[in-house]
Amino acid sequence: MKNFIIISFIALVSLSSCKKQMNENQDLPITGSSAKKFNEIKTSENFDWKTTNELTFNYVGIPTIQPVKTTLTISSEDGKIVFYAGTQDMSSNFQTKLAVPTNMSNIVVKYGAVSKIYSTNVSAISFDILPTLAD
């Protein structure tokens, strides 16, 4: 009987210990990451560690009957981050580089009354004010 009690006690302590460990593991919300320490990471030398997507924005000018210009704006959808704003000739081409945070999925381009939304999941955006209908 005495042995039984001792064995039972040891088993109980063991189970409690396991439970505590399991609970601690459950505290870690994220699993599956292969490296546990930063200096265990190996990456390609091409990886730049940037949390931005680099985009090339092209405004495609079209010939106009008269010189026409107004403000071209490229911003986040909520308008809080303005990536570009400047005076733009309607007939002149224009190119600029954008660095858009990776957690921003869309940007808005406004030119006069024309406003278009573009996905940032591309390397280049081409913007013009030509009609979108083919005919």
Binding site: I30, S34, K37, S44, E45, Q66, P67, T70
Partner: protein, 505 residues
């Protein structure tokens, strides 16, 4: 105040978007993205779209390169078997009619049909009872009848009616193509209207309106961030300097503890530009959040590739008493090829410790309110010196513990002139200046990280992977997986190992 009043009183009105009023609206069906004939329906659509962008409108009328009246393309109706003037039509942009004759060329595509006509009318501007394009009731003033049904080109010349000639209010000219019997189409080309173009292609092709531009810089007040300052017009976020969290290890070129909290700051830079899109000022805002270091590090920004000669003045730097600081007459750092701006000489000049080890890196506190340093860099806008936003490539870095020759930069950002090149390749540094790789280890690990957005930093001595486990997967996948590894919404954080200061989410 007097200056302000004068500015307002003398404020100029500009005509929206349009900067000359002498061109004649001509429809010759030849304007396109290609200066040469690009042929076929694609070329026809291309050309018509360009004319639509210039505010010509079309109903049942297309462009064709088959049997064009002149050059490569002409406009043509469908089979002209409707006598209605609303079946096939072309409307001009809004114009202010001049005097003289409207001229055009017209022909039929085949020698068949009973009746073929070209109706010419004007449309007044009517903002109250007009249609969505503000067009009022159509007034016809001429009808040309194809008395002979054949394919000969007819040259039409119709006087602008006295009722609208030399008008100061806008009108459109509407050309309708009508007929009955047969299947021939009516072609039209080289339409010229003596008038002043008065449409605004950038405002839904409505007539130009007078818009307010108080400072007269050519940027409408509605778009102008500084409507009463003609030297400034726009505020733009500089690329790669949107509000970000900068986190440095300061033991470079030795390995650190990778808690990336030796220097933690919220950083952003905006450019103020003028109506010519030249940079007038750059405002660099740095909120120093935490110092998990025994070193007293400085913070600076290099304008990569930009000579100091382009600067007018630097204001707002916190320079303390550090002896290593040498500035030129405009306030950027001396002996630098590229403009270098010292934001502050050392963290202790900005944040005072409240006791204990480090500042704002221990979860038990005490906590110190982060301090913000705003530095304004004024630029020379003279033509030979002026730059645009695309010329701004900012390179933020720390200067380690008052040792001017020891800098730590973001990965692959080049050191300044004053950094010691002897340190490259020592310790765990694997920089290769010949390849343009800097401040990375052999395994491509950085000594500093910049995250777009405001994120919490690590508790002292806690490896960054314990707080942001998905950072490892993001890096190993070269950014293909878990690109938002720092995102709170996706549950990618171990919050008990992170310090959340006010405003950090």
């Amino acid at each position: 105040m007097k200056k302000l009043l004068l500015s307002i009183v003398a404020g100029l009105f500009i005509t929206a978007n349009i900067h000359a009023q002498t061109a004649l609206p001509i429809l010759n069906c030849e304007t396109s993205s290609s200066p040469i004939n690009n042929g076929g329906s694609r070329g026809a659509t291309d050309r018509r779209n360009y004319d639509i962008a210039n505010c010509w409108t079309f109903g049942g009328v297309s462009y064709t390169d088959i049997g064009a009246i002149s050059n490569f393309y002409s406009a043509q109706s469908g089979q002209a078997t409707s006598l209605l003037v609303t079946s096939f039509w072309i409307k001009s942009p809004w114009i202010k009619p001049g005097s003289g004759n409207i001229t055009l060329k017209a022909k039929l595509t085949a020698s068949n049909g009973t009746v073929r006509k070209v109706h010419i009318a004007y449309l007044p501007y009517d903002a109250v009872t007009g249609n969505s394009a503000k067009e009022g009731t159509r007034v016809e003033f001429n009808v040309y009848d194809f008395t002979t049904i054949n394919t000969t080109v007819n040259n039409l010349s119709i006087p602008i009616p006295a009722a609208i000639a030399n008008s100061s209010v806008p009108y459109k000219i509407m050309i309708s193509l009508a007929g009955s019997g047969g299947n021939s189409r009516i072609m039209l080309d080289d339409l010229t209207i003596p008038s002043t173009y008065f449409a605004d292609p950038l405002n839904s092709c409505l007539p130009q309106v007078q818009i307010l531009d108080k400072d007269g810089d050519g940027v409408a007040d509605a778009d102008d961030a500084f409507p009463e300052d003609k030297e400034k017009a726009y505020i733009v976020q500089i690329p790669n300097a949107t509000p970000s969290t900068l986190m440095f290890e300061d033991l470079w070129p030795a390995t650190g503890d990778y808690d990336f909290n030796d220097f933690v700051a919220i950083y952003q830079a905006k450019a103020i530009t003028n109506a010519n899109n030249n940079v007038v000022e750059v405002i660099i805002t740095t909120q120093l959040n935490a110092v998990g270091a025994s070193f007293d590090n400085g913070f600076a920004v290099q304008f990569d590739g930009l000579s100091p000669i382009r600067l007018n003045m630097v204001n707002g730097s916190v320079l303390g008493t550090s002896k290593w600081i040498e500035l030129n007459e405009v306030g950027s750092e001396q002996n630098q090829d590229f403009a270098n701006i010292i934001i502050f000489d050392k963290t202790s000049s900005v944040l005072k410790s409240a006791g204990g080890s480090g500042i704002n890196v221990n979860p038990e506190g005490p906590f110190v309110k982060p301090e913000t340093v705003e530095v304004t860099v004024e630029f020379n806008t003279d033509k030979e010196f002026a730059i645009e936003v695309k010329d701004l490539k900012l390179n933020p870095y720390i200067i380690v513990n008052g040792q001017r020759e020891v800098e730590v930069h973001l990965p692959d950002y080049a050191p300044t002139n004053l950094a010691s090149k002897k340190l490259f390749g020592t310790g765990v540094d694997y920089s290769n200046p010949e390849k343009g790789t800097y401040y990375k280890t052999k395994n491509n690990l950085p000594f500093a990280i910049k995250v777009e957005g405001l994120i919490p930093h690590m508790v002292e001595k806690q490896d960054i992977l314990t707080g942001y486990p998905k950072l490892a997967d993001w890096a190993k996948s070269e950014g293909q997986e878990y690109e938002n590894w720092y995102d709170a919404d996706k549950g990618f954080r171990e919050n008990k190992l992170l310090i959340y200061l006010e405003g950090i989410k």
